[in-house]
Amino acid sequence: MSIIELKDLSKIYGFGDATTVALEEVSLSIQENEFVAFMGPSASGKSTLMNIIGLLDRPTYGNYVLNKRIVDRIRSTRRAKIRRDTIGFVFQSFNLLPRLTVLENVALPLAYKGVSLKRRNKIAENMLERVGMADKKYFYSNQLSSGQTQCVSIARALVNSPKIIIADEPTGNLDSVSSRLVMELFTEINRTGSTILLVTHNPEITKYASRVIYMHDGSIVLDEESKVGEVSTHAKKMVRKSTKKTFEDDLKGVSTLMDAIPQKNNNTKKYSPKKKSKKTTRKKKNYVKRKK
């Protein structure tokens, strides 16, 4: 049963000749209990897609069915409530509130739900126990290491027992040991039944995922099943490439990965004003010419 169903979803910023197409008719179906990794270079639309799936943003066009409910046009109060009850966010920069203790941070989503202080502290404590941070519950976030902070923010995402966890580069600010810890936490959460959507720049991370989606310029360019425990095929290419690492490879970063991906499918319908589409095609022709 699919929990997330996107159909021809587009997101366009700006207007006139300053239009930016962040998402271009993305169609996607995610089943319950999947562990999906999203990869792609910067500005490929991953975060925009996550924001729309997480109901922080609205699509410009297209339909979004979340948990059998059409949610692409509902009012902000209902969005906030769905967000609170079915979605948990984990951010790259942790986003814990510095004025609150670890326990209060974790209990905050429950407070918005109206759970009593005593009960929500108990639930939050259990969550902290689960991520191994129970002994730090009266600490403030600036007293924790980055790995510990991320564990706390995962606990916060989990506290409402959401069906979907959206993690936008959760390991982006972590060292490799903490990354492994955090990813294993995600795997364990996935095992208990949550759907996990994870954005990452690190090909290594894809080995925790059961499905890897590659994005480029606002479209999905590749969607492949991946065996848990193995780095995905295309990510592997990138890894192999980067074994002979030079300084330039470092600079290129993920875009090396994109070299390994088949060219963007041009058959998909495009939304954009006619004038603009001409422009882009001309550009493309020039680009092809130059390549020749």
Partner: protein, 411 residues
């Protein structure tokens, strides 16, 4: 979940604690406003209760006749109250005939007149220009005034050149706290001090002079000294029955009107009317100063709005995080509304505490006895809370409407 939660309040308290200096500076306007309003109102209340106390002490059956006409047309007008004071001038058109008429009016048990003799007082310590009041023999008993030292001049005494002085005069003129037996020269006659008044309450007998700075000599002596030209300051009469004060007042007024040929150039007041007069003047002044204080409250409110706006911009990221984890717009709105109203209520509390201190200082250093009562406190708290709500709502709306994605990205 639109009711403010206990969490909102504890959160607001925490954010005030988080930036103590800023919070204090923010609420300064509120504090000043509350202190001024509470202090002014409490001073007015204090004076009012003092006056009421005096009237009760001197008796409700007292009737005063004063020269001049009180302007009654504009009693509701704020400035009207002020006019009434000035219209009680000391240029007198009351005469000895009037004094006799009052004394013989139906229902008057006893009466006394006060007249004023101007001139210089010469003592061993030098020359002083003091108001010398000629007072009838009944004056003391009429107004229940106490003598601190010595005695009042007795009507039977053959010595007409005797005086009783106000408490404030003893030291400057005679260099002694109890100058009984000392003498001074006034209009060429040598007077002997027979007594010193204990503190004389200012209202209602003396609206525009302080009797504590005056010298009292027998009424007849004063008449003698000036060849019956001393202006009569007021006539005090006592009714035989408290219940009949109104009737007696009417009698006196009728008699005097006859003497004055129908011209109402004098005022007959019973005690409750003198009180009304005093409180009216007091209220006018209180209103005026309260308006100024209210402006300070308004400025304080704008200060709160300003700082809350800044704080909301500073906390944009926090708003984004809260929205991401499920806070609705209303919940964010309430959070910031509670914060601003707690902040300004805190200002109100500080203001009230400060006003208690100010009042205490006033009691210690002046003769005022300010009274802070419950309604004033309730209004002070209510107003400061209301200011928080009113001036906090614009920033709070702004916070609630923030786009979660932009807010999350804000650094």
């Amino acid at each position: 979940m639109t009711i403010p939660h206990r969490d909102d309040i504890s959160l607001a308290l925490r954010s005030i604690r988080y930036s103590k200096t800023r919070s204090l500076l923010t609420v300064l306007g509120i504090v000043i406003g509350i202190v001024s309003v509470v202090t002014i109102v409490s001073i007015a209340k204090g004076i009012e209760s003092q006056v009421t106390g005096q009237i009760n002490a001197s008796g409700k059956d007292i009737i005063l006749v004063k020269p001049g006409q009180v302007n009654k047309t504009s009693s509701k007008d704020i400035l009207g109250g002020l006019n009434q004071l000035s219209s009680l001038s000391s240029i007198s058109n009351l005469t000895q005939n009037d004094v006799n008429s009052v004394a013989s009016s139906k229902g008057v048990v006893s009466s006394a007149a006060l007249n004023i003799v101007s001139g210089q007082v010469k003592s061993d310590n030098g020359k002083f220009s003091s108001v010398v009041v000629g007072a009838g023999n009944n004056f003391l008993s009429l107004v229940n005034q106490k003598i601190a030292y010595g005695e009042y001049f007795s009507p039977t005494s053959s010595d007409v050149y005797q005086a009783v002085i106000g408490a404030n005069l003893a030291y400057p003129i005679f260099g002694e706290k109890i100058p009984l037996g000392h003498s001074f020269i006034f209009h060429g006659k040598t007077f002997i001090v027979r007594g010193v008044f204990s503190n004389i309450q200012s209202a209602p007998f003396s609206v525009n002079t302080n009797f504590n700075n005056d010298i009292f000599i027998p009424y007849a002596t004063a008449e003698d000294l000036t060849n019956n030209t001393a202006p009569i300051y007021e006539i005090i009469a006592k009714s035989n029955d408290q219940a009949l004060v109104d009737q007696v007042q009417k009698n006196i007024n009728q008699n005097l009107l006859q003497l004055h040929g129908g011209l109402q150039d004098f005022t007959v007041l019973k005690q409750s009317q003198s009180l009304a007069l005093t409180t009216q003047v007091l209220n006018s002044i209180t209103y005026l100063i309260s308006i100024v204080a209210a402006i300070s409250l308004l400025v304080g409110g704008v200060g709160i709005m300003n700082i809350t706006l800044v704080s909301i911009t500073e906390r944009t990221k926090e708003i984004g995080i809260r929205k991401a984890i499920g806070a609705t717009n209303t919940q964010i709105l309430i959070q910031f509304l509670v914060e601003s109203s707690v902040l300004s209520l805190f200002g109100g509390i500080v203001g009230v505490i400060l006003s208690f201190i100010v009042d205490y200082i006033l009691i210690l250093t002046t003769t005022l006895s300010p009274k802070i009562d419950l309604p004033v406190l309730a209004i002070a708290f209510g107003v400061s809370f209301g200011i928080g709500i009113v001036f906090g709502s614009l920033p709070a709306f702004k916070a609630a409407r923030k786009d979660p994605i932009l807010a999350l990205r804000y650094e």
